[in-house]
């Protein structure tokens, strides 16, 4: 068996040699965001253009590659989704943003042949107007620490040799050939790694508990059923560096003495499914997964399973039920998966990012890992930064980074509804998705970690960050998330199934202007009853957006209820239709379109709208060329 063991060093060396024979590399981001923006067309255009110039382009770096002029690769998500499609040029490190197929000509002529950047394609900071040629100088990247995402966006996720050439699977090799399970558990415990799926449970402790269980069979499950609206960290990692995830799974399996793993990937992530499947197949073919891993007497089998399309399947007991072919419904804990998990066997179930963090801990040692982050939340965290912010995208920062740094330095500041930077526009940020809560102005300088965020009533969660500007109605925010959890409740326990439905109905009352003092009182009571009494994490955290907005924006709820007014002007039912006299030219366009005859006025004189007759269909506002009609 020893002879058959894969020689990582040799594979890596051969890849590096082949790679060294080509001077320049062009990496086109093929993450979901950039693909949606047309990056595959950019890739094709570049290939055509390079070939048209009699340059030798290498798309697949074979073993027998004896050089070429340009290595053209696709990568996973490079993070800066806002500016996609992204193209990176090595060795210079030029970053081109918003690249279109027709830019291929300039890129080839000016950069590949002319050895200089294409100035019109480099990133310009909208706030300062400054240009940045290279990735690492762009403010969006400069403040980040891309550790887990380190290879994501830089390597070809479909080429196992490139991963190996960058020390890939070395940590797994050590775990299988040089470390005892107990040692691995101790190392992970010492690193202080905490679960990135939302709960923040110490990973080492979870592994140690599962290792302690005596059983003929154990399982590792990688939870890739990322479902929070606006979250795409796990997707990007699975798409961008699938082998990193698989390596983490192998180490986890070794640590608990399991020989079989399931990777449960959301079916709505076809690219992640495809890349993970390919990575598993490649790792099997390379002799990394399978019998006698790295010449040891341990076996390792990895299955890829597509999710069942339900948010609740991200809950670990529901996820296991789903793998077993049952309806994805959570069951009461205890027993915990560590004692009785998949098919009743001890099981470790970790999130994608958690497992993705494992190889580097084994490679660098727990002590070095702890150099980043805070004492109780070591390491880095990826976030999906979205909403009313200049730079949306996938970011990674050490724990302890403040919200201000994330939103204003990396994110480039808050934008208004017209998309312009608004330095006073920040209102709140929703952290942790539908299970989380909002952080507000007073939290901007709070160092973000598991414990500090929890104190505010929110959770770090899996890493969704939705920035909201002053035009956001916080009751509507609560309503949005409530509707989500209500739809996604599995329907098993009473508080979650019926409670979320009634909370949504109460929020509807507020938004529709039917709320009374009793609505607010009942909403608060019900939220607590759902929070305390629900069976699983979905229900227990479902009221968080309501409780958190009630805590920080109670006055907004009260304005809706007592003054029948939406301070952000978003709730249609509460808006008062009005034609602003200064803007109205008296053209009569609105008057002619109004289906109920609610608008009156003489030609060339400001018109009026009868609020009682108006049905708020909005037709008049669409007809008006002067933005004179509000509140419809």
């Amino acid at each position: 068996m020893i002879e058959q063991a894969v020689n990582l060093e040799a594979v890596g060396r051969r890849y590096k040699e082949a790679r060294a024979a080509i001077a320049r590399r062009v990496i086109v981001c093929a993450g979901t965001g950039c693909v949606a923006n047309g990056s595959l067309k950019v890739f094709a255009a570049l290939k055509n253009e390079i070939e048209g110039r009699d340059l030798e382009v290498v798309v697949e770096l074979g073993h027998d590659c004896d050089g070429g002029d340009v290595l053209l690769s696709k990568s996973g998500c490079q993070g800066f989704c806002q500016a996609g499609p992204l193209v990176t040029i090595e060795p210079e490190g030029y970053l081109y943003v918003h690249v279109k197929p027709e830019d291929a000509k300039d890129i080839v002529e000016q950069t590949l042949i002319g050895n200089r950047p294409v100035n019109r394609l480099v990133y310009k900071d909208p706030a300062t107007g400054n240009s940045f040629e290279k990735t690492h100088d762009v403010p969006f990247y400069k403040r980040q620490r891309r550790e887990v995402l380190g290879d994501c966006g830089n390597i070809d996720p479909e080429d196992i040799r490139e991963y190996i050439a960058r020390d890939g699977y070395e940590a797994a090799r050590r775990a299988y050939t040089q470390m005892k399970p107990q040692q691995i558990c101790e190392e992970i415990s010492a690193s202080g790694l905490r679960g990135r799926g939302g709960g923040g449970f110490p990973t080492g402790k979870k592994w140690t508990l599962t290792l302690a269980e005596k059983s003929d069979k154990k399982y590792v499950i990688c939870n890739g059923d990322e479902g929070d609206p606006g979250a795409f960290m796990d997707r990007s990692l699975m798409e961008g560096n699938p082998h990193g995830v698989i390596e983490g799974i192998m180490i986890a399996a070794r640590a608990i003495e399991a020989d079989e793993a399931y990777i449960y990937v959301r079916a709505e992530y076809p690219l992640a499914v495809q890349r993970i499947r390919k990575a598993v197949a490649d790792a099997e073919e390379a002799g990394i997964l399978g019998q006698g891993v790295f010449g040891s007497r341990h076996n390792m089998l990895c299955h890829v399973m597509e999710g069942a399309g339900a948010f609740v399947c991200g809950e670990e007991t529901a996820l296991m039920a789903s793998i077993e072919g049952l309806r994805g419904m959570p069951r009461p804990k205890p027993p915990f998966p560590a004692q009785s998990g998949l098919w009743g066997k001890p099981t470790v179930i970790n999130n994608v990012e958690t497992l993705g963090s494992v190889p580097m801990i084994i490679l660098q040692g727990s002590h070095n890992y702890r150099a980043l982050g805070t004492p109780n939340s070591p390491g880095t965290k990826t976030f999906a930064l979205t909403g009313h912010v200049v730079n949306t995208g996938l970011i990674e920062v050490p724990f302890g980074t403040t919200l201000r740094e994330i939103i204003f330095d990396i994110g480039g500041g808050v934008i208004d509804k017209a998309g312009q930077i608004d330095s006073d526009g920040f209102k709140a940020v929703q952290i942790g998705g539908p299970s989380g809560g909002c952080l507000v102005e007073e939290h901007l300088d709070l160092p973000i970690d598991f414990d500090s965020v929890k104190k505010t009533g929110a959770i770090v969660g899996s890493g969704g960050l939705v920035v909201m500007n002053c035009d956001t109605c916080m009751v509507q925010v609560a309503h949005f998330f409530m509707r989500f959890t209500q739809n996604e409740s599995c329907g098993k326990c009473v508080p979650c199934r019926e409670g979320t439905k009634q909370m949504l109905a109460l929020l509807d009352e507020v938004i529709q202007g039917r709320g009374t003092v009793r609505t607010l009182e009942l909403l608060g009571q019900l939220a607590v009853a759902v929070q305390i009494g629900s069976l699983c994490g979905l229900g227990k955290t479902a009221p968080n957006p309501v409780l958190s907005t009630l805590r920080y924006f109670r006055s907004e709820y009260e304005a809706h209820i007592f003054q029948k007014r939406c301070p952000a002007g978003q709730c249609k039912a509460l808006a008062i239709p009005e034609i602003i006299a200064e803007r109205c030219k008296g053209c009569g366009a609105c008057l002619r379109k109004c289906p109920v005859g609610a608008i009156t006025g003489e030609k060339k004189a400001p018109h009026r709208i009868d609020a009682k007759a108006c049905i708020k269909c909005g037709t008049c506002a669409q007809a008006c060329k002067f933005n004179a009609i509000v509140g419809v």
Binding site: R327, P334, C493, K501, I532
Partner: protein, 671 residues
């Protein structure tokens, strides 16, 4: 005080004595925590959240899902817990059909009871919008999703106890509902109508289908002579509807009540049970002597019979051909009573009072009707009978007992114990013992076959003959025995199967009881009843003997077979005939059906179908051969399955079907 094995519950120390969960320990402390979804016979579900308690250091948890640990300090009745429980009940009530006064379950609704107990005086939440349609598709049960509180008791009972799984959850969030697969009606799926779902349902979401009005109509019709048979298990349970303890035998009062309701004659199904014993034991001894079709399964439970027809078609020859006592009574009554009572057959109405919902289905089976109509016209459950007594205002407890009518009202103890698990076996043993030894036996009790264990295997020596019996109740247990037989790992001679755990005494038509000792008390009632009767062996029933003399001839003879026996048919699970995938044309000589059900599909039946269609078109056979896509040949593990003409091919490949097609075409040309 030593707290090593104790839990403090509301300030009192309670000793842990092997309780499976905190809820059971709390109940032992004489605190009846409310719950909808906890049943000691079912898996722990933890969904209704009413059994919440506050444990020091743990906070609010559900007691049904928590293991009692020594030293725990538990509070069951804090202000927070009270308000949460009330709120959950309010939430359930908001989503619940509001017509309590007209609900058939209003005398036994747990939601109603708990709402009252917890002091819910208003519902502050919005009521559910829109009504969901009722499922009244079958003769036994009515499903009303508007009354369902989604506790899942029915789903788990059907799956875990009966191994049928006819219903499950569908959809999610507030749209969650309990329904048969693909939103079908119960009559279209594998439901065996045992009604276990109805008996565990805390509300009126699944209830036995009522025939009270039809029976009132018959009773009011002066032209009709209405006779009634009462099943053994009814007499030990009906009293519960009038405040009596379970197991109290009220046969005499039942007769009086039935007479007051207007029934012309009151007979006893136990008479027919005595007949069953003779026929079934005789059949068994023949098989045992000849060594064929063993083990013999009993056939008195209609839910089991339907189950066997659905899932055990390979073992149908092993099922006793005896009709159930209800149907033996029905055919005998319709054959003999018109003359005896001087009434036209079409004016004779036979009603049965049964502990069972599946009996309603059984009475409507085509095998049990003649051109003149069904042998048993109407089947009332014990519950319905109780409701009729109430409707008539009869003060049941004050009635003076009356006696059953002869001859069909005379029974032995053997016919009475039929109503509990082990009863049929014991009754048969009482006959077989004497038959095999030729010696009269005075001690008739075979107490070794009694009990409540789900599967009981007993070896009994009767004279020189060794018999191995299996007594099972709960169809999941039956399934396990069937698997043993198929695997050839057992050598039973006789297998008694009852679908309901406990037997007929715990049937779904009985008064609803959530008490744990009800079954034992009712069973004891039947055994006591046996003791108080003069005769204990079916073969000693003089009226049964006379019946053979005058009507039936020999035991197991031709006439007995006509009236007392039946046959079974395999019930294909999938009713659809499939559809043609070729252009419809004139009647085609040869039909090829390819299963495109899930299992065969996964094994490549779709590709097989496509190739086959291509082949038929290439060969210009479209006018001769019809290719159909169909669903399920019930050999899912052997797929892809394909039927060509009358030949069923498993693990079918394209080459196999092509070869068979050629040979069949050649055959048809030759002929």
């Amino acid at each position: 005080m030593n707290n090593g094995t104790r839990v403090q519950i509301d300030g009192r120390d309670i000793r842990i004595e092997g309780e499976r969960n905190l809820l059971e320990l709390i109940r032992k402390a004489n605190i009846d925590l409310p719950t909808f979804c906890y049943h000691s016979d079912l898996s722990i579900y933890g969904a209704c959240r009413l059994c919440i308690v506050d444990i020091e250091g743990m906070g609010v948890v559900t007691s049904c899902t928590t293991l009692p640990k020594p030293g725990m300090k538990v509070k069951t009745n804090t202000a927070q817990l009270r308000s949460m429980r009330k709120m959950y009940l309010e939430l359930l009530l908001a989503n619940h059909h509001q017509g309590c006064a007209t609900c058939v379950k209003n005398d036994g609704c747990k939601l109603n009871e708990l709402a009252m107990r917890m002091g819910v005086t208003e519902v502050r939440f919005q009521p559910a919008q829109g009504a969901k349609p009722l499922d009244t598709s079958n003769p036994s049960l009515v499903r009303d999703p508007n009354k369902c509180i989604l506790c899942g008791d029915c789903v788990r009972a059907c799956h875990e106890i009966q191994g049928v799984g006819a219903i499950d959850f569908a959809y999610r969030g507030a749209a969650t509902t309990v329904a048969p697969a693909f939103g079908k009606d119960l009559s279209e799926v594998d439901c065996v109508y045992c009604g276990l779902c109805a008996s565990v349902c805390p509300t009126g979401a699944i209830t036995p289908k009522l025939q009270i009005d039809q029976v009132w109509d018959a009773l009011s019709n002066e032209k009709k002579t209405v006779v009634v048979q009462i099943a053994p298990a009814v007499r030990v349970a009906l009293g519960e509807m009038f405040g009596l303890e379970p197991g109290v035998v009220t046969t005499g009062k039942i007769v009086a009540a039935l007479k007051m309701l207007g029934f012309d004659k009151v007979y006893d199904t136990s008479f027919a049970a005595d007949l069953t014993v003779l026929e079934e034991a005789n059949e068994f001894l023949m098989r045992k002597t000849q060594g064929e079709r063993l083990p013999q399964f009993t056939s008195c439970c209609p839910a089991w019979v339907k189950y066997a027809e659905q899932y055990c078609s390979d073992l149908l020859p092993n099922v006793s051909t005896c009709r159930s006592p209800q149907q033996m009574f029905g055919s005998l009554a319709k054959a003999t009573l018109p003359k005896m009572l001087n009434v036209a057959r079409e004016d004779l109405v036979v009603v049965s009072i049964m502990p069972c919902t599946a009996k309603k289905f059984e009475a409507q089976r085509p095998e049990f009707r003649t051109a003149a109509g069904p042998d048993v016209d109407f089947v009332l459950t014990t519950q319905e009978f109780g409701k009729m007594i109430r409707q008539a205002g009869i003060q049941f407890n004050n009635l003076t007992p009356e006696s059953l009518d002869l001859p069909l009202g005379f029974k032995t103890g053997a016919g009475v114990i039929f109503g509990t698990t082990g009863g049929v076996s014991e009754a048969v043993l009482r006959y077989a013992h004497e038959k095999l030894t030729g010696v009269r036996v005075d001690n008739v009790d075979f107490s070794e076959v009694r009990g409540m264990q789900g599967t009981r295997v007993k070896q009994i020596k009767l004279g020189e003959v060794d018999l191995k019996l299996a007594i099972v109740h709960g169809l999941k247990n039956a399934k396990a025995v069937v698997e043993e037989i198929r695997a050839g790992t057992c050598d039973y001679d006789f297998i008694e199967v009852m679908a309901c755990p406990g037997g007929c005494i715990a049937g779904a038509g009985q008064p609803v009881s959530f008490e744990s000792d009800t079954k034992q008390l009712r069973a004891q009632g039947l055994y006591d009843c046996d003791k108080t009767l003069q005769l204990h062996k079916s073969q000693e029933n003089p009226y049964v003997a006379k019946c053979y003399e005058t009507t039936l001839g020999e035991i197991g003879g031709h006439c007995a077979h006509e009236l007392l026996h039946t046959g079974y048919k395999s019930r294909k699970r999938v009713a659809d005939e499939g559809f043609s995938v070729l252009e419809p044309g004139a009647a085609k000589a040869l039909e090829i059906s390819v299963c495109v059900g899930t299992s065969c599909y996964l094994r490549g039946s779709q590709q097989l179908l496509q190739k086959l269609v291509g082949h038929v078109k290439d060969r210009d056979l479209e006018d001769t051969v019809d290719v159909r896509a169909t669903f399920c040949f019930e050999a899912c593990d052997k797929g892809p399955s394909l039927k060509i003409g009358d030949t069923l091919i498993h693990h079918c490949t394209f080459d196999m079907v092509r070869a068979e097609l050629e040979s069949q075409l050649a055959g048809s040309v030759a002929s």
